[in-house]
C-alpha cells in the first residue's frame, strides 16, 4: 500500500504566553514558569491510502495536537508532514483543503447563523469544485448521503440534534472530496444509541468513498471498531503501533496492556463483578516528563534501565512497532 500522509520526526512545543502583567510581577520577584510544554515529541507515522488509522491515548497525550498538525491546522515546531509528497503548510490552501477535519463538538463546529446548506457548499464553491448554480442540488445530495432529509438545506444548526449536527459536519468535510479525513473524537459527545448511528454512517461512507481516515479517540472500543491500524500515545510520544487486531489481542507495550485492562467490560454471561484493573499512579505533568521511558513510574515491569534510557520505537513480535526495553 502507498503512504499518503506522512509525519517525520514531528514535534510540537507550546510556550507559555507571557503577558505584561506577568512581566511586571516578575520584576517584583514573582516566579515565572516559562518552561515550554512538549505536546508531541518526535513522532514518525505514515497513513496509507484507504486505511483508517486510530489514534488513542488519555487526555494530554498529544493525540489531538498530532491530529491538528496532520490536518495542517497547526505547524510542527520540528519535523515535516507530507501529503502525497508535498508539505501542506508550505504548499498553501490548495493542499490543506485535501485534508478535512470532523471535530468533537458539533455545537461549536457549525456556524449557528448560517443555513446548513450554505455551510456544506461554502468550501466547494470557494475552491471551484462546484458552481453557485449547482449549490442547491449539491447540498441536498450531501444531506441525503449522510442520512438526513434533503429538504433540511435551509434549516439552521439549532434545529438539529447533536447526532444530526455531527452528520452535517461529516457532510461538510466530505463535500470537499478530501484525500484524508481527520476525525477528532467525533462521537465522544453523543449518546450511545446516536454514537452507533454515526459509527455506522462512518463505516458506510468509508466503503462508498474509499476514505483514508485518522480517527482520534479516547474510547478504545470505538477505535477498535473502526480502525485498521492503531497508534497508542503516552505523554506526547507513540509507544506502540500495530494492526488493530494484534494490538488488542496481543498488546506489546505495558501501557497498552494496562490501558486495555483498565476499561470496564460488559460481560453478558452473568459474570458480573470487577472486570478491570486500574493503572497505578497518575499521569505525570507534561511540563516535567519522567526520564527514560515516560511510563516507567507507573509500569509494573520497569527496571533500572527504563528510568535511564528511553526505548526506541522498534519492530515488535506482532508485526507492529513498540517502544519498550522489555517487550
Amino acid at each position: 500500500m502507498k503512504d499518503i500522509l506522512t509525519a517525520e520526526n514531528v514535534s510540537r512545543r507550546f510556550s507559555p504566553h507571557v503577558t505584561l502583567g506577568d512581566r511586571i510581577a516578575g520584576l517584583f520577584g514573582a516566579k515565572l514558569d516559562r518552561r515550554p510544554v512538549m505536546a508531541v515529541t518526535d513522532v514518525t507515522l505514515a497513513v496509507q491510502r484507504g486505511e483508517t488509522l486510530g489514534l488513542v491515548g488519555e487526555s494530554g497525550c498529544g493525540k489531538s495536537t498530532l491530529g491538528r498538525m496532520l490536518a495542517g491546522i497547526l505547524e510542527p515546531s520540528e519535523g515535516t508532514i507530507h501529503l502525497n509528497g508535498v508539505s501542506p503548510m508550505q504548499a498553501g490552501r490548495k493542499t490543506t483543503t485535501r485534508i478535512q477535519t470532523v471535530f468533537q463538538d458539533p455545537f461549536a463546529s457549525l456556524n449557528p447563523r448560517r443555513r446548513v446548506g450554505d455551510t456544506i457548499t461554502e468550501g466547494p464553491i470557494t475552491h471551484g469544485l462546484i458552481t453557485r448554480s449547482e449549490a442547491d442540488s449539491f447540498s441536498a445530495d450531501w444531506l441525503a448521503k449522510v442520512g438526513l432529509d434533503p429538504a433540511y438545506v435551509s434549516r439552521f444548526p439549532h434545529q438539529f440534534s447533536g447526532g444530526q449536527r455531527q452528520r452535517i459536519a461529516i457532510a461538510r468535510a466530505l463535500a470537499m472530496q478530501p484525500d484524508v479525513l481527520i476525525c477528532d473524537e467525533p462521537v465522544a459527545s453523543l449518546d450511545v444509541s446516536i454514537q452507533a448511528q454515526i459509527l455506522n454512517l462512518f463505516l458506510d461512507l468509508r466503503r462508498e468513498f474509499g476514505l483514508t481516515t485518522v480517527f482520534i479517540s479516547h474510547d478504545l472500543s470505538v477505535v477498535r471498531h473502526v480502525s485498521d491500524r492503531v497508534a497508542v500515545m503516552y505523554l506526547g510520544r507513540i509507544v506502540e503501533v500495530a494492526d488493530a487486531h494484534s494490538l488488542y489481542a496481543m498488546p506489546q507495550h505495558p501501557y497498552t496492556q494496562a490501558l486495555l485492562d483498565s476499561v470496564p467490560k460488559l460481560s453478558l454471561d452473568g459474570n458480573i463483578g470487577v472486570t478491570f484493573q486500574p493503572i497505578r499512579g497518575e499521569l505525570p505533568s507534561p511540563l516535567s516528563p519522567p526520564s527514560g521511558c515516560a511510563f516507567h513510574p507507573r509500569c509494573l515491569k520497569a527496571a533500572d534501565l527504563c528510568g535511564r534510557q528511553r526505548p526506541r520505537l522498534e519492530k515488535s513480535s506482532n508485526s507492529g512497532l513498540v517502544a519498550c526495553h522489555y517487550r
Binding site: 440534534s161 449518546d191 450511545v192 444509541s193 452507533a196 463505516l203 490501558l259 483498565s262 460488559l266
Partner: protein
Amino acid sequence: MKPALLQVRDLRTHFETRAGTIKAVDGVSFTLERGEILGLVGESGSGKSVTGFSLIGLLDPPGRIAGGSITFQGQELVGLPQAEMRKLRGKRIAMIFQDPAATLNPVLTIGQQMMMAVQAHGGTGQGAALALAERSLTRVGIPDAATRLNAYPHEFSGGMRQRVAIAIALLHEPQLIIADEPTTALDVSIQAQILAEMKTLAQDSGTALIWISHDLAIVSSLADRVIVLYLGRIMEFGPIADVLRAPLHPYTRGLLDSLPAMADPGQKLRQIPGSTPSPLHVPPGCPFAPRCAQADDHCRSDPPPVGDERHGAFCHYPLTGPA
C-alpha cells in the same frame, strides 16, 4: 420484615416551562436496601440525574416534585422543610457530582472545606474535625493527607479532586451516597482506580450507593441491581446479571447492541433508529414505541404496566430468551 433503607414510590418530578410541562421523572418507583449498589442507566434526557437531585432535595426551580413519595429510613422526604432536609443532606445522604472542579470551592483549602462540612452538622471541635478530614482523605487513597489539607483545589489533578469530593461525601458515614456520573470527566486509568475504591468503600461501610451513569459497562462492574430509564420512565429493572444476560425490553436490547464491543470490528452495529423525542412531546403509550421495531398500535396508545417482579420491563411484548 425491616423496612427498606430507601423506598421511592411513583416519583414525579416536573419542570414548568413556558413551552409546557416537562415530566423529567414520570412515575419512578424502586427500593434500596442497606449496602446495596443500584445503577441508574439512561441516555441524556432520561431523567437519571433529576431522579438523583429529587432524592437529595436539590432541585432548582422550576423543577418540583409533583407527586409520589420518597421514604428514607422511615422518614418521608417529599414536602420536608428545607431546614430539615439540610440536617439530613451531607449527614445521612451524600451526593458526588460529575464535575469535581465545580464541586469544590476554589478559594478555600481542602481542609477548610472539609471542616465546614463536618461542623455544619454540629458538635465537633476544630481539632477533631481536622482529624476526621484527614482520616477521610486517607481512606480514599490520597497520600500524605495531613499536608494536602492545606492545599487548594487547583493544586489537585482531576482524579484527585474527585477523590476529595468522595472524601467529603464520606465524612459523616452516610447511609446513602448518590453518585452522578462521577467518573465521566476522568481518564480511563483514573476511572478504574475510583471505581475500584468506591466498590470497596461501599462494601466495607455498608453504605448504599446509587450510581448514575450512561455507561452500562461501568454499571455492570459495580452494581447489584440496575434500572434503565428512558424519557423519565423505568423501561427495565432487575439484578444486573439478569438484565445483561436476558434483557426484556427492546430499548435495553438496543442499548446493548449499540455498543461497539458487541459487534465484530468493522461490522455494522445494530442501531436504534431515530432519536430521543423532545421531553415536551413524550409519545402516549410506551415512550419508546416510535423507535421500537416490534411496536404496534397497542404500544402506541396504552402505556404498558410495570411489573413488581425481581426482573421486569415496562413493555407489552417483553423479549424472551438470552442475548
